[in-house]
């Protein structure tokens, strides 16, 4: 059971790293300097996905409060969500729709209208999906489905981005692409909250790395430190030992 206490994600909580600037994507930076990448790492079952679900209003916390841009995540007005993009577990990819139709659908549901929908073709090109734009999502490889999910999450240029294992199923070029994407998102002023198993990749883009273990935050890693993997395991091991000692 995950218990969140004073979890926050908005302007009103200075201690939070989820300060959100107005969106931006690759080469379209706005309000530089306000964004950042906050990574969360942990072993399988540590609670990373649960934490993200709480933040996106997908779950009710047993106690405490998850807030997004100053609003309770379960009751946030929908204009707040138009500033948020996310990819949790599975992509917004309906197998019967083409790539373009999927991205257009998510753009509409994110509140884009009229000329705002021009962003659809732009994001398809940015995510190198142009060749498959008129193909059904069901025919895409896993890697391209992941790209489609990322394109759908970011088509509306959100100022807050929540991504769970964004490099899943991607080839090495795709992993580098995601790394650059996160950097550009943050550079464009977006607050990026990302989870991954790849500490080395996270260390290259994140300004802050939080370690989650058995549903609790057990510490933080400095991305600049050497031998992050060893530090991570030490932290997790220390927590297990202290739990056993108290238990």
């Amino acid at each position: 059971m995950m218990v969140l206490d004073d979890l926050s994600a908005g302007h009103t909580q200075p201690s939070s790293s989820f300060r959100c600037g107005k969106g931006g994507r690759r080469g379209r930076s706005r309000r530089r300097g306000r964004g950042g990448v906050h990574a969360v790492v942990g072993l399988n079952g540590a609670g990373k996905t649960t934490l993200m679900r709480l933040l996106l209003g997908m779950l009710r916390p047993d106690s405490g409060r998850a807030t997004v841009l100053g609003h309770d995540a379960r009751q946030a007005p929908h204009h707040v969500w138009s500033a948020v993009g996310h990819l949790i577990e599975t992509s917004f990819a309906y197998p019967e729709l083409t790539v373009r139709e999927n991205v257009t659908s998510t753009a509409l549901l994110h509140g884009l209208t009229g000329s705002g929908l021009d962003a659809v073709d732009e994001v398809i090109e940015t995510f190198e999906l142009g060749h498959w734009s008129d193909r059904r999502a069901s025919t895409l490889s896993l890697g391209n489905q992941q790209r489609l999910g990322l394109a759908s999450a970011l088509v509306h240029r959100p100022s807050m981005v929540v991504l769970d294992e964004p490099a899943n199923a991607l080839d090495p070029a795709g992993v580098v692409f995601v790394r650059d994407l996160l950097t550009d998102c943050a550079g464009g002023g977006s607050a990026v909250f990302v989870s991954s198993h790849h500490l080395d990749q996270l260390a290259r883009v994140a300004q802050r790395i939080t370690v989650l273990h058995r549903g609790r935050i057990v510490g933080a890693l400095d991305p600049g430190d050497s031998d992050l993997e060893q530090r991570f395991f030490n932290m997790v091991h220390r927590h297990d030992l202290s739990t056993e000692a108290w238990g």
Binding site: R53, H86, I88, F92, A93, L97, L109, G111
Partner: protein
């Protein structure tokens, strides 16, 4: 709402389940009615001929279309129920449900949009069944066409098919609650059996899911008369289930 309607309409149009259901019901319901009508009139001996004869109410267009009415009352409820169950349940089975959180369009609005596009599809399906029944009857020359009577009977068929389809919207709730289309399809079967039992016990008029079937046999010997309140239960049940479903979607969590 407009964005949700656009997206849900696109999903419904692209769905193979919807296409297959439209084609199957649009053709098979009138064709089965015509086949039963032909068998009933053939004077043949055997279980199918005897059964067809018991369902026959009148001759010519009236007899043929009332057989189609009886088939439509059950088949459209079942077929539309599968499409409705798929429309709501697929979000869980395909694991797209989490993608519908944290959007500018509320989930309750998305659920309502699903109901609205499904309702339009149900009316369109009822019209297709009506016109195909008319065409098949003319091709098979089931009798002289009396414009007034034929239009009245076709109108009744469209109304019965629409009522059966509207009742199938209730499966949106069971598909949501059960987080998949299989629980809803199971419920659909139970409801079809329950409607038969309610009719057997003479209480079918107050069981909304039996009402389209009773509309189909209205006027036949021994058939109960339907009270306006019993007819009103059909849209009422559909509206209540829509309200419950949209509330479920608005308050739901990801599991």
């Amino acid at each position: 709402m407009r964005a949700a309607l656009q997206v849900e309409w696109l999903k419904l149009r692209r769905s193979r389940v919807t296409l297959a259901a439209t084609a199957l019901m649009g053709l098979l319901v009138p064709a089965t009615g015509l086949a039963f009508y032909s068998v009933a009139l053939s004077g043949g001996v055997g279980a199918i001929a005897d059964k067809a004869a018991t369902f026959l109410i009148g001759e010519g267009w009236v007899g043929y279309l009332r057989l189609v009415d009886q088939i439509a009352a059950v088949a459209v409820f079942g077929g539309a129920g599968v499409v409705v169950a798929w429309g709501f349940g697929r979000e869980h089975v395909d694991r797209t449900f989490p993608s519908l959180f944290a959007l500018a369009v509320p989930r309750g609005t998305i659920a309502l949009a699903k109901f609205l596009v499904l309702s339009v599809w149900i009316v369109a399906l009822a019209l297709v069944i009506g016109f195909v029944a008319l065409g098949l009857g003319m091709v098979a020359q089931v009798g002289p066409v009396e414009a007034g009577a034929a239009i009245g009977e076709i109108g009744k068929l469209i109304l019965i098919a629409t009522a059966a389809g509207i009742l199938a919207l209730t499966m949106g709730y069971t598909a949501s609650l059960g987080r998949g289309y299989l629980p809803a399809i199971g419920t659909l079967m139970v409801v079809i059996v329950a409607a038969q039992v309610a009719v057997l016990f003479g209480t079918g008029g107050w069981f909304p899911f039996a009402v389209p079937g009773l509309m189909a046999v209205a006027g036949a010997e021994g058939a109960p008369d339907l009270h306006p309140a019993q007819l009103a239960l059909v849209p009422a049940v559909a509206l209540v289930s829509m309200w419950m479903t949209t509330r479920w979607w608005a308050n739901s969590e990801v599991t």
